[in-house]
């Protein structure tokens, strides 16, 4: 099976804060990581490769530094990596990102399955996967928690999709795109061979011209949405400490919640 995994390098959200003076993101000292959900996507692809053979290619669109994220997943066993990088790609929203990734996948060639993470933890949109599938004209299943059956020669698979109230069992024809959640399986540990390979692997870098991408479809220019402003969330109101014996704490809390009209119970 030829599988493409889309990964994104993201700032570690733990450390992202807004500069209250300038209203811009403070990025100094913020480490970059591979989007956590994308590590599950990598694991999904590697398991399929273990079973059916083939090639796993990691694909990312990002600044030149994003190459580090690609090298990191090669350590885990990914075979090939492709970086889409161009100043013109900067500022892309999910539409322009999925357009550019679609061009990258066309360049990679024949693909049986594309695996994305459920969402990237910087933007939290969960839109690039399904938008990419639509750009490529492929069927997709989001939020996949288990691959029940994959039949590459028969061109079909059966997967479980996590829903709000349980899960759906869905059959899809191949080629297709899936986005995966954590339940799909914990990532393995990097192998020594992978680490060696990651050091040496040549990673092609494609820009807009290499991809035949329309200039008005990439980056900021190709993005239907625009950010008007960013601001810090409203600070929490004053915290109320409820002390005393447990019974007293319980009673006071429930009374306070009833006063706030959060609960309809009557407590006296």
């Amino acid at each position: 099976m030829n599988i493409v995994v889309c990964i994104k390098q993201v700032p570690d959200t733990r450390n992202v804060r807004l500069d209250p003076e300038t209203n811009t993101l403070k990025r100094e000292g913020v480490e970059s990581i591979v989007n956590p959900f994308d590590m599950y996507a990598v694991e999904t692809a590697l398991r399929l490769k273990d079973e059916f053979g083939g090639t796993v290619t990691a694909l990312t669109m990002g600044p030149p530094q994003a190459e580090a994220a690609l090298r990191q997943v090669v350590e885990y066993g990914v075979d090939e990596a492709v970086l889409l990088s161009d100043r013109a790609f900067a500022g892309a929203d999910t539409w322009a990102t999925s357009y550019t990734l679609a061009k990258g996948i066309e360049k990679i060639g024949q693909v049986d399955l594309i695996v994305c993470g459920k969402q990237a933890v910087d933007g939290d949109t969960a839109q690039v996967g399904p938008e990419l599938a639509e750009q490529l004209g492929l069927p997709f299943v989001c939020f996949v928690r288990r691959l029940a059956e994959v039949d590459p020669s028969g061109g079909r698979m059966v997967v479980e999709r996590l829903m709000d109230d349980g899960y759906d069992v869905v059959e899809a024809s191949l080629p297709a795109l899936i986005t995966v959640v954590k339940e799909i399986g914990e990532p393995r540990v990097p192998s020594l061979r992978g680490k060696m390979k990651a050091k040496k692997l040549t990673i092609p870098v494609y820009g807009a011209a290499d991809l035949n991408a329309a200039p008005d479809c990439v980056g900021l220019a190709g993005s239907p949405t625009q950010v008007v402003e960013v601001f810090a969330p409203q600070p929490r109101g004053d915290r109320v400490n409820i002390d005393g014996a447990p019974g007293e704490q319980a009673r006071q809390l429930l009374a306070a919640l009833a006063r706030d009209k959060v609960l309809t119970v009557k407590v006296d």
């Binding site: 807004l18 839109q127 938008e131 069992v169 969330p233 002390d243």
Partner: protein
């Protein structure tokens, strides 16, 4: 705005003729030609395999012809999701501000009687597609049909709940319509000068908020977080129009097939819809102690949530996990029991209206986001709460 056909590139394959919902293209002498009834909807542009068709849009012309606010009314098993009513409340406010009508879109099977409910909650029009093939959700049919309806009726704003279903198929629709989509919004408003929809949403795990606009493409689309918008009053005397739309006869096929729906019957896990969530972390100690939280949740009519710590210990299943690698929730009340408040957990729950933290470590970071802080042993406080709730405080 104009439609151009590149005679060099056109192969007269007739893909555009088939794609056009209005029959406005024909092939004459080996070249596609546009007729007067073209609405510039863009269906042919997408369908053309040769890239021979292009539509030039000038920004000021974009808004022309697009009018009205639409809400996609999600149903599962014939029950309309709460978030649809919340969106009708918000959609009504936006539509009134713009002076336009509010439409609700309902897909399903045997649902004709539900259309009235949508009108009672504020819809002026209900676009109803009643077809056995639409009984259950599939991305291709729901997405394909909604795309075509948007092309035909041209609403300026289209909203959907940021549920699993909405977040799965709305991106497909936005992508097919070549327009923007803002995910998981928590605030919407209209800027009156240019009638643009301002869409506010948390990003970077809730550490910042961003306001997004979509100036040059229509419709303006957003998924909206459940439990954030306010449901309007139900008025059974409201009248509205029901417009029946057909799935049959359209070139929309499903490439995925729903084989089975497995509901998690063991407990209520629909965290997205819960007003109250009682969540447990590693402080719960072991699987069977979740029974205590479940009892509290049941008494409050809430659902059970958990940290990754608790899920990784297999005390409770993954659908209950809240946080960066689980679900994002914003209930009216979140009661965190034995949860330290790691940032990966906080990003999934810090936008809850009221947060209660119960933890025996006064330095636990969960207290930083709490409205009510109870330092103490959860095994004493939670049973005491249950006792109070059971005997009404006597």
């Amino acid at each position: 705005m104009s439609l151009r056909i590149d005679s060099e590139l056109c192969t007269a394959c007739e893909a555009c003729v088939e794609a056009c919902p209005f029959g406005a293209i024909e092939v004459v002498d080996g070249l596609a030609c546009v007729k007067d009834n073209c609405t510039l909807c863009g269906a042919c542009e997408d369908a053309c395999p040769a890239g021979a068709i292009s539509i030039d849009k000038k920004e000021e012309e974009v808004q022309a012809g697009f009018s009205g606010v639409w809400v996609f009314a999600e149903q599962r098993k014939g029950r309309i999701a709460e978030v649809a009513f919340e969106l009708l409340g918000e959609g009504r406010r936006l539509a009134d501000k713009l002076g336009v009508s509010l439409g609700a879109v309902l897909f399903g099977s045997g649902l004709a009687d539900k259309a009235g409910e949508l009108i009672a909650y504020g819809a002026d029009k209900v676009y109803l597609a009643d077809d056995p093939a639409l009984e259950n959700f599939t991305d291709d049919l729901y997405g394909g049909l909604l795309t075509e309806l948007v092309r035909e009726y041209k609403p300026e704003i289209v909203l959907c709940g940021a549920t699993s279903l909405g977040r799965s198929f709305f991106p497909k629709v936005a992508s097919a319509l070549n327009t923007g989509l803002t995910a998981d919004c928590t605030g919407l408003d209209i800027r009156m000068e240019d009638r643009l929809l301002l869409q506010t949403r948390p990003a970077f795990g809730g550490n910042i908020m961003a306001t997004i606009q979509c100036p040059a493409h229509r419709p303006q689309m957003a998924t909206v977080r459940p439990k954030v918008m306010r449901k309007g009053p139900c008025d059974d005397n409201r009248t509205g129009e029901i417009i029946e739309v057909e799935l049959a006869g359209r070139a929309i096929t499903a490439r995925t097939k729903l084989l089975e729906i497995i509901e998690d019957l063991s407990e209520k896990v629909n965290l997205a819809e819960a007003d109250i969530i009682v969540a447990g972390g590693r402080g719960i100690g072991e699987a069977r102690n979740f029974a205590l939280l479940r009892e509290l949740a049941d008494l409050l009519g809430g659902a059970l949530g958990a940290t990754r710590g608790a899920v990784d210990n297999e005390w409770i299943s993954y659908p209950h996990q809240i946080g960066q690698t689980g679900k994002t929730v914003s209930p009216k009340l979140y009661i965190a029991c034995g949860i330290s408040g790691a940032v990966q957990h906080l990003v999934g729950m810090q936008s809850s209206d009221v947060i209660v933290a119960i933890n025996n470590d006064p330095k636990a970071p969960i207290f930083d986001v709490a409205h009510y802080a109870l330092v103490g042993d959860l095994f004493e406080i939670v049973p005491a709460m249950i006792a109070v709730l059971k005997d009404g405080g006597k």
